[in-house]
Assembly symmetry: C3
Homo-oligomer: 202 residues x 3
């Protein structure tokens, strides 16, 4: 049941990320092909880098489903961008769900190939954040990890908790759910209460 | 004969892309090593990303030919950049040929590893455009896919036509030639008549 | 003994590169997670791209050591950045050592998988410079290869000398040491005497 839920949330995360990519395209007033490229690259980017680094087959090569879904969402955003724009607060919260899910599933997939816990935490952060990094680089925006918001930190917290629980002998399911909740709560709390970490001061 | 032609055009595309990379280096007044790096990265970039995503051996690792050719063209541009500059209109048309070729051969190589038609179309676009994306990111220019020109759209049209024809049972040769002609004609028409697609308007 | 030395210098190079990444984070006044991400990506970036292009397992996936070391150095920089900052001249010289080492070991690893000498030289340059390229792109800085300083040139010189010596039948050890010294001397000389190569002039 956890795996069914993870699959549903995996698709959910990819589609939310694709929407955030298409919204950058709308901000840059691109044409529909620009929407498709930026939306799709953002949706599948983080998982693609994860698979390439782990030496696994890239997940969206095996079947057309992921690409079709990203293309459909990006095209819909071209015609209906006023909806996600007026719902930006909602979208940011959906994005938090996608990010939290990618953080734990990225770490889980890394443990499954036999890598060490530390590597799994790093890969969770990469999976959760690099779709956004690719979006910002292709879209000519300042990279997300430079922002003052708590984002990568939430992914790190979730991946760390998942890996620690698994490593301590708790079940994978408990780890996935707890890590996911920690990451989502951290990001949602940061959005709601404007949490930040102390910055480096010269 | 199609394969011989495709090989010739493949080299042609790589060398034209390398020249466009070296021309960005000339605009930034880089030294000769900068020309070599930017020219070579642009020439082989799109095909490199294609091969990494498909899990194939990267094409320029197998032999020195591609790198030597890119280095030679980039070095020549350092000494003779006034020639491609004064021939920019011509170069843009050569670039259209290279892009059109990469769109269909990228899709073709993807079908050859057994991936689905949708994935093949996406990979055709990636192969045709990501050399330019790498050039713009390394060169500190605004990414090409943000430009108002029809470029990725032409690659998409060519890859789509090639995949549709192949999928409908037409011969691979007919698909390659038709897709190539569609992509090249779309881009050349866009250059000549300043075609654009409608932009997103808020 | 050369291999022991190479291992020590390999770690040394990764840690110096991680420090330069963390120093960009300090310049951007990021929080500690930003330091960790930028430092680690810079430390392992060049070798990661080398391994992905060669189709080898990515070196830091196999064990946690490299990541832990990068994280530790990046975190230390968050609290102690005034030390590397006040020692910037020293750090640039350490960075030259790391770059020189990566240039020859990147080329060496490429020859070891049976690739041609030309490919090995290119991969030496990629290994030595792309950690810095990733640092600059993620950190929103102008890419290092656009700078007027001699950097990639030094990597190219070292990789070229190593490959030429090996190819001429000299021992691998002699090639590694000589190539390393050439690359380091070129970069250190450029830092000390402000050497530059002639720029392209329109």
């Amino acid at each position: 049941m956890i795996d069914t839920l993870a699959t549903v949330l995996d698709w959910f995360g990819i589609l939310v990320f694709a929407t955030t990519g298409a919204l950058v395209a709308s901000r840059k007033q691109m044409d529909i092909v620009g929407f498709l490229m930026l939306g799709t690259a953002t949706g599948v980017g983080g998982g693609t880098i994860r698979d390439v680094l782990l030496g696994l087959p890239v997940f969206w090569i095996a079947g057309p489903g992921y690409l079709i879904a990203c293309v459909a969402v990006s095209a819909a955003t071209f015609f209906l961008a006023h909806i996600p724009e007026s719902r930006l607060a909602l979208l940011l919260r959906f994005d938090a769900i996608g990010m939290a899910l990618f953080a734990v599933t990225g770490a889980d997939k890394t443990l499954a190939v036999g890598a060490s816990p530390v590597v799994a935490v790093a890969m969770g952060v990469v999976t959760a954040t690099f779709g956004g990094v690719i979006r910002d680089i292709l879209g000519g925006e300042s990279p997300v990890i430079l922002s003052r918001e708590i984002y990568a930190t939430a992914a790190l917290a979730g991946a760390l908790v998942f890996v620690l629980l698994t490593w301590s002998g708790f079940s994978r399911d408990l780890g996935l759910v707890t890590g996911f909740l920690i990451a989502a709560a951290t990001r949602l709390g940061a959005l709601h209460w404007n949490w930040t970490l102390p910055r480096y001061r010269p």
